[in-house]
């Protein structure tokens, strides 16, 4: 083949350009730590990396949801436990009232119960991260409707009604929320209700069982005529029978609360398992993404060294291209 000036320089320049561009690409890979530096480099890997990236973000969000749900359920569980303990205290007071030696202090016991009822209602109005825990999906004071006699916008309230023979104190615990569930996404196509509703804790949303405590309070504080008991106003056999019934009813509330908490315990176990599973998936996705997108430093360094050597030799050859022609020897 006849070699001309053009045949010497043009292919050389083209090759030099290619070596330099290869070297630059490897320098970029090493300096950024990213394997994919151009959309057209390896589109299949780019698509893969994008899919992994999206899965990672989605699973990070699920982890966040799970973590929040766990904290919420834990807070709910602890609150229910406190309420159950208070219920148990009331039950113990009811049992104490039936004992002969304590009988003269029944009105004092009634006052103790009143204090505990306040504590229970306070706990029922508890909030987590600014949202009511037991109000169904009415999470804020603004969303709570106030019926007649209600004085606040909390989901549970002890209201004062007109005293009657059945309810001489006129007190009543009312619920102003609803029994709707708060549903959180915990994974792909997987969601879970994380709140405990009032009908899971008590017999119904009218709190017919919880108001038995008011009945107990009335029994201990008022006599059959509806007057406040005096020291000599002892419990008669009818009262004792009622006391026994109330005590049993209160026992049922305690059991129901424990059942609700058992459900929460199971939910927390599930959330723990889900968290572990999601974490494991997340780690896998991060690993896959890393394999696709991160620079293989060893390979890139070796390649860069090769390119540098090639470039060095190419430049030396380039310097020789201009060296000699026959004209240099013709004197």
């Amino acid at each position: 083949m006849r070699v001309t000036q053009f045949s010497k320089y043009t292919p050389y320049l083209s090759q030099l350009e290619e070596i330099q561009s290869r070297k630059y690409l490897n320098e970029l890979r090493l300096s950024t730590g990213k394997n994919i530096v151009d959309i057209s480099d390896t589109p299949d890997l780019l698509v893969q990396s994008k899919r992994f990236e999206n899965q990672i973000k989605l699973h990070q969000q699920y982890l966040k949801n799970i973590e929040y749900s766990k904290n919420f359920v834990q807070h709910t569980s602890e609150t229910i436990e406190t309420i159950a303990n208070n219920i148990q205290k009331i039950r113990e007071i009811a049992i104490s009232a039936t004992q002969i030696g304590v009988a003269p202090d029944v009105s004092v016991l009634g006052k103790q119960i009143r204090g505990i009822i306040d504590d229970i209602v306070k706990n029922l109005n508890s909030d987590f991260d600014g949202q009511f825990v037991f109000a169904g999906n009415l999470l804020t004071p603004d969303s709570i409707n106030q019926p007649i006699g209600s004085t606040n916008t909390l989901p549970f309230e002890i209201i004062q009604e007109t005293p009657t023979a059945e309810n001489p104190s006129g007190l009543k615990i009312i619920f102003k929320g609803n029994t709707k569930k708060i549903i959180v996404n915990l994974g792909k196509f997987s969601s879970e209700a994380i709140n405990t509703t009032v009908d899971e804790m008590f017999a119904d949303s009218a709190l017919s069982d919880l108001n038995k405590i008011i009945d107990l309070y009335n029994l201990l504080l008022y006599n059959k005529d509806g007057n406040l008991r005096t020291e000599t106003d002892l419990l008669n056999s009818d009262d004792l029978s009622k006391l026994n019934d109330y005590q049993k009813e209160i026992g049922k509330i305690y059991d129901r609360l424990n059942r609700a908490n058992a459900h929460n315990g199971a939910l927390m176990d599930r959330l723990d398992a889900l968290k572990e599973q999601t974490n494991s998936l997340l780690t896998s996705f991060q690993g896959f993404r890393s394999q696709v997108t991160d620079t293989d430093f060893a390979a890139a360094t070796i390649q860069l060294n090769k390119d540098q050597t090639t470039l060095q030799f190419a430049l030396q050859v380039g310097a020789r291209l201009t060296n000699t022609t026959l004209f240099d020897f013709l004197r």
Binding site: Q5, K34, I39, S40, K64, T140, L330
Partner: protein
């Protein structure tokens, strides 16, 4: 036979060797001139003269200055250049699109859509949290802004292409005119001098190659050394006459789609025919203007701008569909207030959409509850967040799959162009190399030629001197 024929022979030799020296000097001078084809004098022996002792040589003649240009290589190179320039332009436009989309990168459109949808998951468990609502609204604004910016940058690029197309049409017209003028000069030289003017031929070949970079052309031989230029059956240059090209823009009355085409016009600017390009820089520019960057494209080919618009419109419509059935924190009902998260005037597009200002001014109004008065209900928030898993979102793909595939398609296109470009470049380099090995200048060869012609010139001079001495001797014989 006398002495004077020797002088005549020496004169012819001097002229021939001098021409050789001139051709060599010209070759050396043009060693780096693009399109230059080396010349070598074609030396032939003069017709012998009869003498009593038989035929005696009549010296040397230069029959022509020979060049080595071959139509085969010229044709192949023109085709290759057309293809190479198509791919080069394609590659440059695809790279610009990749930069606009922020790919590969962490703040790409795909990432923003994902973060926006995920923000609704936070609202599923804290629907009343105003700061979380505000965050989602800020992300909605970012999303709209990003799509707006992207669409507007794609349209800017399209406008830039229009300006490039106009420049290139002007350039093509200039070259067409120059080729016709060169044809005229070559035809004149051919008819007057009975031979090619190689310089003009080389210049014309160079111009034809420049034209083939812009449009795909066919070249046929005309009379008196002229060449005729066609593009897809439409003649642009016939001898010394030529037609110009004009860019024609048509706008669809219904869709408003702007389409460019190239037409051949006569000297009065009247449209003669539509030029359907298949290759070349202009083809690529027009194709990307009409398809890739046209958000109203109706060709069913791959259009990045349209795909983005379709995605955005679908996304906004779906989110709005959910929010229109939802309630804000203070909303009563049913029926729901029918509040859209995104509003727009006229036709829904990246340019007309905004985040609902009513919701922006009061995040509590963001309708994410499915039931009136139930502020803790997050049915709508969940439905929106689950859009990210909705396989029926668009073309049986989730939003993320659609956008990832869009990026993948752009990447594949870029990759395909890059591979084809490498192949085309190699082929083009090989063809250029092969042609250069024929027509190019080799300085060593020219150095030898220089010595060869110089020595021959010296020898011929010596013949003149010797003949002169002989003549002097003859003249002095009578003294």
């Amino acid at each position: 036979m006398g002495v004077s024929p020797s002088l005549e022979i020496a004169k012819k030799a001097l002229i021939a060797q001098r021409l050789g020296l001139d051709a060599t000097s010209g070759n050396i001078a043009n060693v780096n001139t693009p399109g230059y084809s080396r010349r070598v004098p074609n030396l032939t022996e003069g017709e012998p003269l009869p003498s009593r002792n038989g035929f005696v040589g009549n010296g040397v003649l230069v029959s022509k200055l020979r060049t080595f240009r071959e139509e085969f290589f010229d044709r192949q190179i023109r085709r290759s250049l057309s293809n190479l320039n198509t791919l080069e332009t394609d590659s440059s436009i695809i790279n610009r699109i990749a930069v606009i989309l922020g790919e590969p990168g962490e703040n790409s459109i795909t990432a923003i859509v994902g973060v926006f949808l995920n923000s609704f998951q936070d609202l599923t468990y804290k629907p009343t949290d105003l700061s979380l609502r505000q965050r989602t609204l800020t992300l909605a604004q970012t999303l709209v802004k990003r799509f707006k910016e992207t669409a507007s940058q794609l349209q800017d690029t399209r406008q830039q292409l229009l300006s490039d197309i106009n420049d290139n049409v002007k350039q093509a017209n200039k070259i067409i005119k120059e080729i016709a003028e060169l044809n005229y000069k070559i035809a004149s030289a051919t008819s007057k001098l009975k031979g090619d003017n190689q310089t003009l031929v080389d210049q014309r070949a160079l111009k034809i190659e420049e034209l083939s970079k812009l449009i795909d052309i066919n070249v046929t031989q005309g009379d008196f050394g002229t060449l005729n230029i066609f593009t897809n059956g439409i003649n642009l240059v016939t001898g010394s006459t030529y037609n110009q090209l004009k860019l024609k823009e048509s706008i669809d009355g219904t869709t408003g789609e702007r389409t460019l085409s190239l037409v051949k016009i006569d000297q009065n600017g009247r449209e003669l025919a539509t030029v359907n390009l298949q290759n070349g820089k202009l083809y690529s520019l027009i194709e990307h203007f009409n398809v890739t960057l046209d958000d109203k494209d109706s060709s069913n080919k791959f259009s990045v701008a349209k795909e983005l618009e379709v995605f955005f419109a679908t996304f906004v419509s779906k989110v709005n569909f959910f929010t229109q059935n939802g309630y804000g924190l203070d909303d009563t009902g049913p029926p729901p207030p029918g509040r859209s998260l995104f509003t727009y005037t006229g036709t829904l597009s990246t340019q007309t959409a905004e985040v609902n200002s009513t919701i922006l001014s009061d995040p509590g109004k963001m309708p994410i509850s499915g039931y009136a008065g139930e502020v803790g209900d997050s049915t709508i928030a969940r439905q929106i967040s689950e859009l990210s898993l909705d396989k029926s979102f668009l073309n049986n793909q989730t939003p993320d799959e659609f956008l990832t595939n869009l990026i993948g398609n752009i990447g594949n296109l870029g990759n395909q162009i890059s591979s084809l470009y490498t192949i085309s470049k190699t082929t083009n380099d090989q063809l250029l190399n092969q042609r250069e090995s024929l027509i190019g200048v080799n300085l060593d060869e020219e150095a030898i030629n220089l010595v060869k012609y110089q020595k021959a010139f010296e020898a011929a001079s010596r013949v003149v001197a010797t003949t002169n001495d002989i003549l002097a001797t003859v003249v002095n014989l009578g003294r």
